[in-house]
């Protein structure tokens, strides 16, 4: 049984975040971290909250902090992520947490928009 520890926080009910532990039966398969989250949500606790979409490492939705390292859950196999049979999953660091593993990306996105404006401005000037 894999020991999984998930960062939980519900702004409506929790004063502070906490870690919740789960024992997950992976049946010996080298699943991706995302598969483990899906398993927990389907079979243990349907309120576990995270973002995901493509499940193939191309959309960026499931960026998480996995055993201390940031990565995309859908292309992080257990064989490369688990330490001492334990998997600790936290939201991406440095951004405010909306709920559980979902962070508020708006600061980051505002910076991206400013960058887009710089390129647009540069392209508008006539070339030498």
């Amino acid at each position: 049984m894999l020991q999984v520890s998930l960062y939980r926080y519900n702004p409506e009910t929790d004063d502070a975040p906490y870690m919740q532990d789960f024992s997950v039966d992976t049946e010996g398969r080298d699943l991706m971290v995302l598969d483990v989250l899906e398993l927990i949500k389907a079979e243990h606790d349907g309120s576990v909250t995270y973002r995901r979409s493509c499940r193939e490492g191309v959309c960026g939705s499931d960026g998480l902090n996995i055993n201390g390292k940031n990565g995309l859950a859908c292309i992080s196999p257990l064989s490369e992520s688990v330490k001492n049979n334990k998997l600790v999953i936290r939201p991406l660091p440095g951004l405010p947490v909306i709920r559980d593993l979902v962070v508020d990306m708006s600061l980051f996105l505002r910076a991206v928009r400013k960058g887009a404006a710089v390129f647009a401005e540069r392209d508008a000037r006539p070339r030498d």
Partner: protein, 587 residues
């Protein structure tokens, strides 16, 4: 419930939605995009191979009419020829526009856009051999396209409602669409988003199948909302099974691999497509290739201990070609198949990929229904573009690279038409309180329900019914079993229970609402699949193996109230070229 008003609202932030948004953002009208995910997470991002278009880069003699012929033939003759003519002829304009927006296409030595060979593409109306017509950015063209469109929307200050989920259409007393009920996922607030023009660009629904190339988010939300609101669905039996989904994972490996010279082999190492499609071989239409693979497997020549897949051989292309033109699939193969394509072939199997069917529209993106006399009637206020629409440019089978073209051509066309309509003035009666209540009923019922089954096992059950009964090969009796299973599943799906009652970022609520959309899409598929008693394009029946042009050279139409199936005519009258007459279809 709060109301926010717009002139135009686009539901869905993928390629089609964002192209429509760009058009409207530049118009000066008050418009917004509602997307249940951050726009660059939309499934367009995973499209790999390219955008097919006759820009005459690889071949200076290339002609959009050849592309049109290929597309009409690819559709097995139920694609609307006027719409296909429009798409293929304006295509080059759309591609150069993308180039000017900054899409980083791969380039030839001369600096022109790189075009690769793709399935079903020929020169000179099928007589001149394989054509290289698919414009590409390595093997991540969709990624490049989506990010280019997003950046241009940012530049044009498009208003985005990101992580908002549209729940149901609001219709007024005249039956016109006047907006949607939507949930702000972050806060849980439910809002009436009022609009003079509502565009559905909600994408596909591959998640009705257990094995699919599609993302988790492809849950047929537009189809669900449309069917519940009495909008018909067209050609829902036409589901494309892409030949090369990675065995086990379902992840897509682009047709571009075969375009670059890769080919499929059975357990004997034989390039079996030489037998099934002597001319085009591995680049025959996807439906033809998928069926050939299944037949190899059924006849005992499949690979692996269970003989349940075949292999895609790429090592002969050499490391340089693979790493420069197909870097994405090299990664995917290593991650999901544990195979390095530079050294070994990739295990693959036909996998549910694309919904040819959808909301019937004209080339302006206006949603259509059919009146009691069988005449087309526009549904005021509702538009659709992209995978959720059925214009129809793909008919019974879509050619590779035509989807990305479809997105930008019809995204733009919808935007242009709505802009023109807004300028002419759109007058729609306001929704009454009872109209708004009707649109909120499903959400209310979910929120009020105290007991029922959980979403995950119900979803799994639905997916297995579809996977087993409505796959690549279908039989009447087995489909009727599937339909009966769906009928008894309906009640249980309608009574799905929330695992989480909070307001803030409640994904359980979204998954329950999505499950109901998956169900509507699945049931529509099942019923029309059983009704169309012929084989055409992607719809292959063991009990009706031939095409029946006498009875079925037409679209199927499905109305969920009464589960009524009817037929709708195909357009055979393009404006500037002669009709491409239906012929036996072989590659």
């Amino acid at each position: 419930m709060r109301t926010i008003s717009f002139d135009g609202v686009i539901v869905g932030g993928g390629g089609a939605g964002m192209r429509a948004a760009l058009q409207l953002a530049q118009s000066g009208y008050k418009t917004a995009v509602i997307s249940k995910v951050f726009p660059t997470r939309s499934h367009t991002v995973s499209a790999q191979g390219g955008i097919t278009c006759a820009i005459a880069s690889a071949d200076p003699n290339d002609d959009w009419r050849w592309h049109m012929y290929d597309t009409v033939k690819g559709s097995d003759y139920i694609g609307d020829q006027d719409a296909i003519e429009y798409m293929c002829s304006v295509g080059p304009e759309a591609i150069f526009e993308l180039e000017h927006m900054g899409l980083p296409f791969s380039r030839t030595e001369e600096g022109r856009i790189y075009q690769r060979p793709f399935g079903g593409q020929s020169k000179n109306y099928g007589e001149g051999g394989q054509a290289a017509r698919t414009c590409a950015a390595a093997d991540r063209t969709g990624h490049a396209l989506l990010h280019t469109l997003y950046q241009n929307n940012v530049k044009n200050e498009t208003v985005f409602f990101n992580e908002w989920f549209a729940v149901d259409l609001v219709k007024n007393q005249d039956g016109a669409v006047v907006g949607v009920i939507a949930i702000c996922i972050e806060t849980g607030e439910t809002v009436y988003v009022k609009s003079k023009a509502t565009v559905f660009a909600t994408g596909g629904a591959g998640r009705i199948y257990a094995s699919t190339t599609n993302a988790h988010i492809n849950t047929g939300d537009g189809m669900g909302m449309a069917l519940r609101a009495g909008v018909p669905a067209q050609d829902m039996e036409m589901w494309q099974f892409h030949p090369t989904g990675i065995y086990g994972a379902g992840t897509l490996v682009t047709e571009g691999c075969r375009g670059e010279g890769g080919y499929l082999i059975n357990k004997d190492g034989e390039r079996f497509m030489e037998r099934y499609a002597p001319n085009a071989k591995d680049l025959a239409g996807r439906d033809v290739v998928a069926r050939s693979m299944i037949m190899e497997i059924l006849e005992g020549r499949g690979c692996g201990p269970n003989g349940d897949h075949v292999k895609l051989k790429l090592d002969h292309l050499g490391e340089e070609v693979l790493e420069s033109r197909l870097p994405g699939i090299c990664e995917l193969s290593r991650t999901f198949a544990h195979v390095d394509p530079v050294k070994e072939p990739i295990p693959v199997v036909p996998t549910c990929h694309y919904m040819m069917g959808g909301i019937p529209t004209n080339i302006h993106g206006q949603a259509l229904t059919v009146d009691s006399e069988g005449n087309d009637r526009v549904i005021p206020g509702l538009y659709a573009c992209g995978e959720v629409a059925c214009v129809s440019v793909h008919g019974a089978n879509r050619l590779g690279g035509n989807s990305l073209l479809d997105l930008v051509v019809f995204g733009r066309a919808s935007g242009l038409f709505i802009e023109k309509s807004l300028r002419e003035g759109i007058e729609l009666r306001d929704a009454s309180q009872s109209d708004i209540d009707a649109a909120s009923e499903r959400l209310q019922a979910l929120n009020d329900r105290a007991s029922g089954e959980s979403v995950a096992p119900l979803r799994r059950e639905l997916q297995e019914i579809m996977q087993n009964h409505f796959g690549v090969f279908r039989t009447g009796e087995f489909m009727r079993d599937g339909i009966a299973k769906l009928a008894s599943l309906r009640e249980r799906v309608e009574a799905v229970v929330l695992a989480d009652r909070s307001s803030a970022f409640n994904t359980s609520r979204i998954e329950c609402l999505e499950l109901q959309n998956l169900f509507e899409t699945a049931e529509a598929t099942a019923i029309v699949a059983e009704a169309r008693d012929e084989s055409r394009g992607a719809h292959a029946r063991d009990d009706f193996t031939e095409r029946d042009d006498q009875n079925w050279l037409c679209h199927s139409l499905y109305h969920s109230d009464g589960q009524r199936v009817s037929k709708r005519g195909v357009n055979f009258t393009p404006h500037t070229v002669e009709t491409f007459q239906p012929k036996a279809r072989s590659y």
